[in-house]
Structures are given as C-alpha cells and as structure tokens.
C-alpha cells in the first residue's frame, strides 16, 4: 500500500504568540517548532502501522522552506520511507492543497492521510480541498482506520455516536485523536533517517486567494475585582461604565 501523509510545522503549544508591528504576520523569532501533532501522532503513525502490516511505502510531503527539514527528518525517523518538500512558504490552505495535489497527481497513492487541522491556524481545510483537487472521496475527523486487504473501514465520532464508513481507495482522510498512538523515534531511527531520501521540488505557480489584513490577540481576561463594601458608588460606576451591565 502506498500512502502519502501530509505533514506541517507548527509552533510549540507553549510558544508565546506575538505579531509584527503592522499585525500582518506572526513573529517567529525565538519560537520552537514541532510537527503538527494531528499529522504526527495520528496520520503518520497510522500510515506506518498499515504499511507494517500490508507492505508498501509511506511518503511524507510538506510545503515549506528549508527550515522545515528538521520536522520532515523527524517523520523519517519515526518510520516514513521517503519525503518530499515543496519549496515554498505556503500562503494559505488553498495554496498548500494545490501544491500537494499537483504532486499527488503525478504519483499513485492508495490513500492520503493528513491531520484534521494544524494547531496554529486551526483551518482544517487542506484535506477537503486536496480531495476535491484529486476528485476522490474525503473522510474527515477519522478516529479509526482499518484495512482488510480489499476494503477500508473508517470510523468517525459524530454527535451522540460513531459513524462507520466502508470504502475503497483512493481517498483523503483527515486524522483525529484515537487513530493511532504517538511513537517516539529511537536513536537508530534518527540515524537511519539521515540516509532516507528527501526530495525537494519546486512549487507550481499558484495565485493566492487570501491576503492577511490583520492578526489580533483576544482581549486579556480580566480578573475579579474586589470592591470595598463602603464603596457602593464605585461598584455602581464600574457596573455601569466598565462592564456596561447596568
């Protein structure tokens, strides 16, 4: 089974989020990056597990610049066989999906797995757009993926229950929690990853549809203010002027 897994790089969950002066871009200085957990823990690991049982090859694909290669190399250390990096700072979900689709069309994959969303912008759009580009089925938020040798069975959590879907490849699946368990790469895997192929290809030309006009941070949560029982006028003023409830 040949499986393509889309992986992306995101800031660590504890990273301090700051934006540039004009509010149009994320300030990346001093930020530690990790592989997007939905891509790594669920999509990639499940792909490797299927390969271990059914044979074949797992290819990871990333749209990004050379600074993404540590994350790509980690995917190889965990057990992917080869990697492709499309050399472009991606501008939107559409851009990412278009770039991956252009590559996937040239190759034949039985299934394509991707995390349900990245933990930075939480778009969750790439999987669906990719499936549309390729003209194949799309299954979102999958928490289980089995293959009996001919048919795939997918489970996804829905409100109040589980939806079970049976289908044949090819399809694009977005991975949710439960699809697999995190694998920590071992030292031999890390050293083997150095010798696995990482192909860098140039992007297709793509006009972005999206321009960022402004990033803003949510308003800081205000703590509880204590007002002295003698200061009733002040309490009324605060309720009226600051919180505007009276």
């Amino acid at each position: 089974m040949n499986i393509l897994v889309g992986i992306s790089k995101t800031p660590e969950t504890t990273a301090k989020i700051e934006f540039s002066e004009d509010g149009k871009s994320f300030k990346s200085e001093g930020v530690n990056y990790i592989m997007n957990p939905y891509d790594e823990w669920y999509a990639l690991v499940r792909a490797i597990e299927l390969k271990e049982v059914h044979g074949g090859e797992v290819t990871v694909i990333n749209v990004g610049t050379i600074s993404n290669e540590t994350v790509i190399r980690k995917a190889l250390a965990i057990g992917a066989d080869k990697a492709v990096r499309i050399n472009k700072e991606t501008s939107s979900s559409w851009d990412t999906a278009s770039q991956i689709a252009a590559y996937a069309k040239e190759h034949s994959y039985d299934i394509i797995l991707i995390g349900k969303e990245t933990i930075d912008y939480n778009g969750g759009e790439v999987g669906g757009m990719l499936a549309e580009h390729l003209g194949v089925s799309f299954i979102s938020f999958a928490s289980k993926l089995e293959f009996d040798g001919s048919v795939f069975t997918v489970e996804k959590d829905i409100e109040g229950g589980v939806e079970v879907v049976e289908l044949n490849g090819p399809f694009v699946l977005s991975a949710a929690k439960g699809l697999a368990e995190q694998r920590i790469p071992n030292m031999r895997g890390i050293m083997m990853a150095k010798r696995k192929p990482l192909e860098v290809i140039e992007p297709i030309s793509d006009e972005g549809f999206v321009t960022i006009s402004q990033f803003t941070k949510p308003a800081e949560k205000v703590g509880i203010k204590m007002v002295d029982p003698d200061q009733m006028d002040e309490l009324v003023r605060m309720l009226s002027e600051e919180s505007k409830v009276i």
Binding site: T14, E69, T70, R73, K74, A77, E181, Q182, R183, I184, P185, N186, M187, R188, I190, M191, A193, K194
Partner: protein, 404 residues
C-alpha cells in the same frame, strides 16, 4: 512503549511543564540529529519518567521496567557502532541524551550511563570478538543489565590499591574480593570487574550473576539517587573462565578510560538537572505573589535567576566544546575532569538557589527541586570526587602530582 501509568501513591501527579532554556543559542551549533535525539528523549521522559519518578524516589525503588524502554529508545551506548548494539551517533548526541535523562532524574541517567559507558564501552573497546557478540546486542536492547566493579570498600579515590584478586587455575581464574557502591548491581546479569592478577596487574573480566560464589547485596538507606539501585559485589572463590577476561588491556588505564566516558556523560547530564530546577524556579517566581507582586520582581530573586542562567549557559558552552573535542578524539581526561567538576557543582548550586525561590514548596515532592538536589550530592563525589577532579586539573597545569 508502555503507556503512561501514574502512581496512585504520589499525591499529585503534575503535568511536566518543562521548557528548555538556551540563552546563547547554543542550539545553532547543533545538528539535526542532535535536536531530534534530544526531542525524542525529552518526550519519553515527560511521558514515562516524570509521572512516576517522585513516587519511586519516595519508595526508594528502582523503576526497572525502564531498562527495556531505554534500550528500545537507543539510550544505551548511543555512540557505539550499530552492529554492536549502539546507535552510531556522535558524542554530542550522547551528551544530549544524558542531559535529557538527568532532566528527569540523575538515577535514570545513572542507569543509562553505567550500562552504556561502563559496561558496553569496555566490552566493545577491550573485549574479544566473542565477548562483543555474546553480550553487546543484548545489553543494547536492555535485555541484559550490566554493572561495573572498580570501587572497593577501602579503595575509592585510590583504585590502584584494590584488594580484589584473581589466581590462575588451569584455563580458569579464581576471583576473590568485594566491590562497593555499584550502580545496578543487585539486578545485574553481568558485571565488568577489575581485579589484580598474581603479579599485581589490574585485569578486567566479565562475571555472570549465576557463577557460584558471586553475590550482589543491595545497599539500603540512601538519601540520594533513591530511584537507582545500588549494591555491593562479593566474590568468594568465583571461578571465571579464561575466555571471560579482557584479552589485552592491563593496568588502571582500562577502567579509567571507561570512567572518562561516564564522566563526559555526567558533564552533560547535570545540565539537565540544573535546567529543570531553573525552569521550575523561573515559572514559580512569576506565579508566586508576595507583597502584591510576583516574587520574580524582587531584586534578590532576579539575582538568583540571573546567576543561575549565567552558570547554566557557561556549562552548556563548556559541554558543547568538550563534545566537539570528543568527536575528534581529542578530549583529554583532564579536560573531562574540569567539565565534570564545574558542571556538577553548578547544578547543585542551581538546585539550592531554586529551592530558596520555591520557599517551603521547594522541599516537597510537588516540585522536582529537592530530589535533584539530593541526587546531585551523590553526583558531586561519584565518578571521581569534586576534590580529586580539582587535583587532576592541578596536576595537569603544574605537572606535579599531589596524589603521591
């Protein structure tokens, strides 16, 4: 890899919030494989060590199930060749692995240091091909546990005075004597033992646990490295086959070269303990409010934190430079002594300062500080005492030997 099992006996299993600190961007000097190795071990420590370590330390019990996991990760002898159970990595990767393990606990790092540097390394370096094939792959996976016997009850800093001895008997040797302060010994399958032959020459050999006359009683009552098991080795007319002796190596340079490897790992390892204490103190100083402001706003707290990160940064640079020397085979034993001595005391002092910043909370097992501090008291004197390492530097710079 077994899933996380939090121990019920630990009152509070807090999420390990550790974040590393790299004030001088030393990471820029590292390669991709170093960063990946560090991240892998850090993830493992967060999921498998942090949730259970306070409980094991409190019970003074060794989490022996971690040996197999450490083997699976490749934390034993990572810089040895792959065909002999190692990882084929460089010395900086080895150092970073030790750092992340010791960030969890010095006892866990000791488990790995002993197995890799004091058991696998001598068998690889001095062993016959048969010995290498027989033991190394299984030591690398953690299927076999090893220990290292050099120190004796009456011979610590002066190992050349050792009394353990071997006497030739046909093609075998009869081993007598005892060893003390041996990490892993009560649970070890094999021991690398150093003893004098009939001419008084130090020889190395591999003793297996089921050889008659060999026992390894546990040492109890330690207030330090409580999650690591320590014992003695007792040899009463143990018959050791001649093929178990290291064929070529003679004299103290055999065991000392192993100790250099382990000390190198400690010079890196203790940075992990220091980072854990600093990270906890920094976070606490921003959360703890006194006099209506976080205590981190007070000058005396800032002085402590500023000095801690300064000393950690210096230790990181020292370790990195030592690592590049070691990669080229140019790290001298005296250079390793300097780094071991400097970095261990640095870590102990960081732990003490961090303890003060945490106030009373610092002495509880809700924070890792006191455990690290107690562990580091051992690290200060094992693998060469703080004072002996000073005299090694003294001898190196003056050319005059203070030991004689």
């Amino acid at each position: 890899m077994s899933s996380l099992t939090a121990d019920n006996q630990t009152k509070k299993v807090k999420t390990d919030q550790f974040q590393s600190h790299d004030y001088y961007q030393v990471d820029d000097l590292l390669q991709e494989e170093h960063l990946l190795a560090r991240e892998a071990i850090r993830s493992w420590v967060k999921s498998e060590v942090s949730p259970i370590i306070e409980s094991y330390a409190e019970k003074a019990e060794c989490p022996t199930h971690l040996f197999k996991e450490l083997g699976e990760l490749g934390a034993f002898g990572p810089s040895l060749p792959v065909e002999y159970g190692g990882g084929g990595m460089d010395e900086i990767a080895y150092g970073l692995i030790m750092q992340e393990l010791e960030r969890g606990d010095s006892g866990i790092r000791s488990m790995a240091s002993v197995q890799g540097s004091l058991v696998m390394y001598p068998i690889y370096r001095f062993g016959s091909e048969m010995q290498r094939q027989k033991y190394l792959p299984r030591l690398g996976t953690g299927e076999l546990i090893g220990c290292f016997g050099l120190t004796e009850p009456d011979h610590g800093s002066n190992p050349s005075g050792m009394l353990s001895n071997i006497r030739k008997d046909g093609s075998d040797y009869i081993l007598n004597g005892s060893k003390m302060w041996i990490t892993n010994s009560p649970i070890a399958d094999i021991a690398v033992v150093w003893a004098k032959d009939e001419e008084g020459v130090i020889r190395g050999m591999i003793v297996e646990k089921d050889m008659p006359g060999f026992s390894a009683p546990e040492i109890h009552g330690k207030w330090s490295l409580r999650a690591s098991i320590t014992g003695e080795l007792v040899f009463e007319n143990v018959r050791v086959p001649g093929e178990n002796l290291f064929p070529e190596i003679r004299g103290l340079k055999g065991p000392l070269s192993c100790l250099s490897k382990a000390r190198y790992g400690i010079a890196w390892g203790v940075i992990g303990a220091a980072l854990d204490c600093y990270d906890s103190a920094l976070r606490y100083s921003k959360e703890r409010i006194q006099f209506d402001r976080p205590i981190g706003q007070f000058q005396l707290t800032q002085k402590k934190l500023a000095e801690m990160i300064t000393e950690i940064t210096k230790a990181q640079l020292l370790a990195w430079r030592l690592g590049t020397l070691a990669n080229n085979g140019n790290a001298s034993p005296a250079q390793i002594s300097m780094a071991k001595r400097n970095n261990v005391l640095m870590a102990l002092e960081v732990a003490r300062e961090a303890r003060q910043i945490h106030g009373g909370m610092g002495i509880t097992n809700e924070y890792p500080i006191m455990r690290h501090m107690m562990n580091l008291e051992t690290v200060l004197t094992y693998e060469g005492t703080h004072d002996v390492h000073l005299l090694i530097t003294g001898m190196d710079v003056t050319g005059l030997n203070a030991f004689k």
